[in-house]
């Protein structure tokens, strides 16, 4: 295994997983550096969710190792954030408190809150202010005091993203995040991701570590190419596919700005390539054909 490069926030080393005789993931090697927005696509049943759960730490892989921020992931922790398709907000908290919830859990303990009540109250108002600031960023100031059941799907998903972002996770996992939303809301949220990416670029220009590293799992090829700067195809259609899916596609994606026209024409060619490499059962070439070996390049584009 190659040693971890600087700025690498996620490193999957030879990750394999199987359920009984059903082989799902086969020797996955993946490095994601700070500031990348990586889209993972693949045919249904190829193990995208399995990979995601392995990275999250809820279902560790049967072979191989996953390092987040240099530490092996064995259970879910504050370095890896998650946004699920079904929102998964805490019903009993308002939008603002949902966002502030992580700060409370991360920075204080239950005994501290019980026995140091007055200190906790002071800290709490800071947390709630921070939450409000972040809600403003995702354009939800007005909904700050609503409970999840009073909000629309799009609003809930924005709260969920803010809730994850406030933790400043090393890497944020988005699991089909916009799958349940209508087209207009979906576009709005895609623009939100593009704006986060712009902040990454600004930070990099200023010589800082880019703040947002995102891995987004989606079944929508347009979405994958539009919001990400790197597309990964996970598929069982390759030589040795009987042993499970592996990465058969790994290339740079065109970078859009939030203000740009949504011109999907310009990545039609790449979409065709993706379909051929990832989604066609007859395409059982060697898996490295469409994979970029980033180590062989002098500098990766996003880091």
């Amino acid at each position: 295994m190659s040693s971890t490069r600087p700025n690498c926030v996620l490193h999957c080393q030879g990750v394999s997983h199987w359920f009984g005789s059903n082989r799902v993931l086969n020797n996955i090697n993946l490095e994601i550096t700070a500031g990348q927005i990586v889209a993972v696509v693949g045919p249904s049943g190829c193990g995208k969710s399995t990979l995601l759960r392995a990275i999250l730490g809820t279902h560790p892989p049967k072979a191989g190792q996953i390092l987040a921020n240099g530490h092996p992931v064995t259970r879910p922790n504050r370095d890896v954030g998650i946004v699920y398709q079904n929102y998964s907000l805490f019903d009993f908290l308002s939008a603002r408190d949902n966002v502030a919830f992580g700060l409370m859990l991360d920075q204080t303990t239950l005994p501290e809150r019980l026995f140091g009540y007055f200190q906790w109250r002071k800290l709490r108002s800071q947390h709630r202010q921070q939450a409000l600031d972040l809600l403003e960023k995702v354009q939800l100031t007005k909904a700050a005091n609503l409970y999840p059941h009073e909000m629309s799907g799009g609003m809930r998903q924005r709260v969920a993203i803010a809730q994850a972002l406030i933790m400043e996770p090393k890497i944020l996992l988005l699991d089909e995040p916009f799958g349940a939303l209508d087209e207009a809301t979906r576009e709005e949220l895609q623009l939100m991701l593009l704006r986060l990416y712009e902040e990454n670029l600004q930070a990099k220009a200023a010589g800082q570590t880019p703040p947002y590293t995102i891995l987004i799992v989606t079944h929508e090829l347009n979405e994958a190419l539009y919001v990400s700067d790197r597309v990964i195809g996970l598929s069982q259609y390759h030589q040795g596919g009987a042993n499970g899916a592996t990465i058969v596609y790994d290339k740079q994606a065109p970078v859009f700005k939030a203000g740009d026209a949504r011109d999907f024409e310009q990545f039609e060619a790449q979409k065709d390539e993706l379909r051929k490499a990832v989604f066609t059962p007859s395409a059982t070439r060697h898996h490295s054909e469409f994979v970029t070996f980033w180590n062989e390049h002098d500098k990766a584009f996003a880091s």
């Binding site: 259970r75 879910p76 954030g81 998650i82 998964s88 805490f90 019903d91 859990l105 933790m167």
Partner: protein, 324 residues
């Protein structure tokens, strides 16, 4: 046929509700007054009979009777006259305590349980019984809810605790708690502690199971994973996530367990207590005097409604997010 689930206007909804209550009250009124009237008729009939017997007796000449027979005749006359006085009164105000009229319920029931009774006039039945029953119920429920909450939440949180507690709980939940009474009477005695133990153990299997179900079903796996990514410890997960999420269901489960708890409590008081609703109901049942019994039954029903309402109010206050 009327369409299923066809909505009806508010006014009709309201008046149907009132109508059912009026029907209940009216039915009882007709029934109890009917009995009272019949009883008056019976008394009038008997009055007539006795009057006839008396006049027959007075009509027979008494001149040639010996002193002994004369005395006997006089005592018979006295007896008839006493009966006449009684039946005269009864034909005016029939007195029936098996299905008392509303006025009887008020005078012989409500006023009696509210005003001082006993030789020394120092017993207030309602206050004493209500307090005895209430304190037993609250203590028993308190212990039962606390234990159920701990067991239920831990079962929902940890598979090992779930596996350990599930078989006995499922088994105990199937035993009718009143069938266990003998065991409690013998093992714990008939003191205050017995009532607490009985209620606590009576509600625990059902309550712990519903809390456990809720802790498993109402807290999706993803929410738990999410909480860990937000930096929660397992203790925080239990208190700040699982407990908060199931609180409304917990309050509802407790609300539904008050009924069964009262069944056990009144039954046990009926058998072994010397205070409380069950005790007083037994005393008056033995005298076939329903005045106090009906009043107590009404009070128990109303108290149940109030408890229900208060707990619903509490749930709305503590869990505004839950809706109605």
């Amino acid at each position: 046929m009327l369409m299923v689930r066809k909505p009806i206007p508010k006014a009709l909804q309201f008046s149907l509700g009132i109508a059912s209550i009026l029907l209940l009250v009216g039915g009882y009124t007709v029934f109890s007054h009917g009995r009272a009237v019949r009883q008056k008729e019976v008394a009038a009939q008997q009055l007539d009979n006795v009057r006839n017997l008396l006049s027959e007796l007075l009509a027979t000449p008494a001149n040639e009777l010996d002193p002994a027979s004369l005395a006997k005749r006089q005592s018979k006359i006295n007896d008839y006259e006493a009966q006449i006085t009684r039946f005269e009164q009864e034909s005016q105000t029939a007195f029936d305590r098996t299905v008392p009229t509303w006025s009887s319920l008020y005078h012989d029931g409500l006023l009696r349980v509210l005003s001082p009774q006993g030789l020394k006039k120092d017993q207030y039945w309602l206050a004493e019984d209500a307090w005895a029953t209430f304190i037993r119920l609250i203590s028993g429920l308190g212990v039962g809810v606390a234990l159920s909450l701990i067991i239920g939440i831990l079962m929902g949180a940890y598979a090992s605790i779930e596996s350990f507690f599930l078989p006995p709980l499922s088994f105990l939940a199937k035993i009718p708690p009143t069938a266990m009474m003998a065991i409690f009477f013998i093992l714990v005695g008939t003191s205050f502690q017995m009532y607490v133990t009985m209620i606590a153990f009576g509600v625990l299997p059902t309550l712990a199971q519903s809390i456990y179900q809720s802790a498993k079903k109402d807290v999706p796996e993803n929410l738990i994973f999410k909480a860990y990514t937000l930096g929660a410890s397992s203790l925080e997960l239990i208190w700040n996530v699982i407990y908060k999420q199931i609180l409304p269901r917990l309050i509802d489960a407790v609300r539904l367990q008050i009924g069964p708890a009262m069944v056990m409590l009144v039954a046990a008081e009926w058998m072994v207590s010397s205070a409380g609703f069950g005790y007083r109901l037994r005393l008056f049942y033995q005298r076939t005097d329903m005045t106090v019994i009906f009043v107590y039954v009404l009070i128990l029903g109303l108290a149940g409604l109030v408890a229900d309402y208060l707990l619903t109010l509490l749930r709305r206050k503590l869990c505004p997010w839950f809706g109605d």
